[in-house]
């Protein structure tokens, strides 16, 4: 028996070192051209570098591919360059925002942010005095109350649209979609004129949460609807064929099967409202001390704290505002990531 030849895995479709060297040359030529043009013409600044580089690189890449590979691949190169431009323009502002928030915000982060409120301090005091506790608990309570109101309403709306499929599905679907575009200030003004002025006559966390619910319900309803539509009809038929009523089938078979998706819908709803500012400014009354009662007294919140601190305009207060923004951003990002993880676990199952 002869010795068996070992076959190693290869990837013949990948570009060779020589090809990679060539595309590096094209990139370098583009950079050089943009540098030279900026040096010898009156065009100046980052934007000039960027647009000249893009133009030069696209032309060089096209020419290079045209002479080495022919017209079809040269066109392919142009398309690729524009796609790269597109994602750069889309992603650059996001990266820039994240970087700015982090660079400006981290200076204001300290441990007592999470243990103290601003009862005894003003936003212009040195940054290490006072804290965010009132804003964090306030946002927490607002979110919780809004959740208690919105989750049942949102999921029941979704169940009406996917399970009952009544006569009003189309108008309701249209309304829910339109509602998810309602500007938050409109929700705030609505609660102000419909509830605060005629009925409660005072600001509180609860009325703020009502306005936030107006924004949250459409998000939860739409996401839940999509999740429930993914549940195969076989399961509904199996439940009914076993002698279940429609309600029991929905409650015992359909909703449990969609559980993780519905949790995702909830998280997306929270992320939608956690940073909402306008209704909170109009309705909660701010407040600098921890208030655990949503039904009376002013209630602080992160967006309110940021708005208040930034408006004062001293170096300390602005740093405080950025720290608040950083914390809010981290909370919202964590919510999105957990929603993502949950929905991935659902699809992989």
């Amino acid at each position: 028996m002869t010795e068996k030849q070992v076959v190693r895995p290869q990837k013949p479709w990948q570009s060779s070192p020589r090809e990679r060297f060539n595309s590096g040359l094209v990139l370098l030529a583009g950079l050089l051209t943009s540098y030279v043009i900026v040096a010898i013409t009156p065009m100046k600044g980052k934007l000039a570098y960027f647009s000249l580089f893009f133009l030069a690189f696209t032309i060089y890449d096209f020419t290079f591919h045209y002479f080495t590979r022919g017209m079809a691949l040269a066109k392919d190169a142009i398309a690729r360059a524009f796609v790269a431009l597109g994602i750069t323009l889309a992603v650059a502002p996001i990266i820039s925002i994240l970087a700015t928030v982090f660079i400006r915000g981290y200076k204001g982060i300290h441990l007592s942010l999470f243990t103290k409120d601003m009862k005894l301090n003003s936003v212009s005091d040195p940054v290490n005095q006072g804290g965010l506790l009132h804003a964090l608990t306030g946002t927490g309570i607002l979110v919780l109350v809004a959740l208690i109101i919105s989750v049942p309403l949102g999921i029941l709306t979704a169940i009406y649209m996917t399970e009952i499929k009544g006569r009003f599905v189309r108008p309701i679907k249209f309304l829910v979609q339109a509602m998810s575009g309602v500007p938050s200030i409109v929700a705030g003004l609505f609660i102000l004129s419909a509830i605060v002025y005629p009925i409660t006559k005072s600001y509180s966390g609860f009325v703020g949460a009502l306005a936030l619910s107006i924004l949250m319900i459409p998000t939860i309803a739409r996401t839940s609807e999509e999740v429930l539509l993914l549940i195969p009809n076989d399961l509904r038929e199996a439940g009914v064929a076993l002698g279940g009523t429609q309600w029991r089938t929905v409650a015992m078979v359909v909703v449990p099967a969609a559980k993780s998706g519905l949790v995702t819908a909830m998280i997306l709803g929270i992320a939608r409202i956690a940073g909402e500012t306008a209704p909170v400014l109009l309705l909660t009354g701010g407040g600098d001390s921890v208030n655990g009662n949503p039904f009376s007294g002013p209630m602080g919140s992160l967006p309110f704290y940021i708005w208040k601190a930034y408006a004062v305009g001293t170096a300390e207060s602005v740093t405080r505002a950025w720290a608040g923004i950083l914390i809010l951003l981290v909370i919202v990002l964590m919510l999105f990531i957990s929603a993502r993880v949950l929905s991935e676990r659902r699809t992989s199952k």
């Binding site: 076993l242 002698g243 279940g244 015992m252 449990p256």
Partner: protein, 282 residues
């Protein structure tokens, strides 16, 4: 396979089965009667004037090419037909002499008495094996004395007990396709139906699982009425006492012929039945 023509061999299989069955069980009377069933989807009539009796303790196979209305027919029997938007029907389905479509009938009670096993195995994904079997009790809010006994009995009757008795807490989705289908059968049995409708229960299964399910059907058939839709003629010959041949010739589906399975496969009265069971079309 034998060198004999297909008809006679299938007829032989079915005849032997029928005779041993008659000897071992007592036919108890008509359990389910379909009277003049018509069915529509929108304006299109898919089933025309179909009358058929199902005797207690027998297995009836419904055969025929795709699109001839077999599935629609069995779905009219336990009132699942009405779930399809645009569906309509006419006629009567008598269960122990009571029309299941009579006004004021509690449709959930009907479906408790007429259970159904679907083409694709559909265990409830959020439930364990034992929860799946007992799901019908919770769905229909029935009380039983001893759930463990019922669980074992149903899994036993569905031929699944020995395979899953050590992992009743595992999720239903962790079983193989054939096991899932037997789990669905066990689930249907737990509410003690009088009639079991099976809509191509083996069409997505491998031959080994198919054989197991056929054994299950044979076990069950002495105690209940079973109606099975199948595209597999060997299967119809192996498991059924009666066979009904459905056909749609362009228009709505109709029943061409019904009779003891042995006769349908060896001496069909209608030329079209003969062509179908000998594999000349369909």
């Amino acid at each position: 396979m034998t060198t004999q023509p297909l008809t006679s061999s299938l007829g032989e299989v079915a005849k032997n089965r029928f005779e041993s069955k008659i000897a071992s069980t007592q036919v108890q009377g008509i359990g389910l009667e379909a009277r003049g069933i018509h069915a529509w989807f929108g304006d299109r009539m898919v089933l025309e004037d179909l009358s058929l009796d199902f005797w207690s303790g027998t297995v009836t196979a419904l055969i025929g090419p795709s699109g001839c209305g077999k599935s629609t027919f069995i779905r009219t029997l336990n009132r699942m037909h009405e779930f399809i938007p645009g569906a309509a029907m006419a006629g009567q389905v008598l269960l122990n002499g009571q029309d299941v479509y009579a006004p004021g009938t509690d449709v959930t009670k009907i479906r408790l008495k007429i259970g159904m096993v679907f083409q694709k195995p559909n265990p409830f994904p959020s439930m364990t094996i034992s929860e799946n079997v007992l799901a019908g009790l919770k769905l229909a809010q029935l009380k039983v004395e001893n759930k463990d006994d019922l669980l074992e009995e149903c899994l036993e009757r569905a031929g699944l007990w020995t395979e899953v008795k050590d992992r009743l807490g595992a999720y239903g989705g962790s079983l193989s396709g054939g096991q899932q289908q037997r789990l669905c059968i066990a689930r249907s049995l737990a509410v003690r139906p009088e009639v079991l409708l099976m809509d191509e229960p083996c069409s997505s299964l491998d031959p080994g699982s198919t054989l197991k399910i056929e054994e299950t059907i044979s076990h069950l058939s002495s105690t209940m009425t079973i109606i099975i839709v199948t595209h597999n003629m060997q299967q119809a010959a192996r498991v059924s006492d009666y066979t009904a041949f459905f056909l749609s010739e362009g228009g709505p589906g109709k029943m061409v012929e019904v009779g003891p399975t042995g006769e349908i496969f060896s001496r069909p009265k209608d030329k079209r039945t003969e062509n179908y069971v000998t594999g000349r079309f369909g």
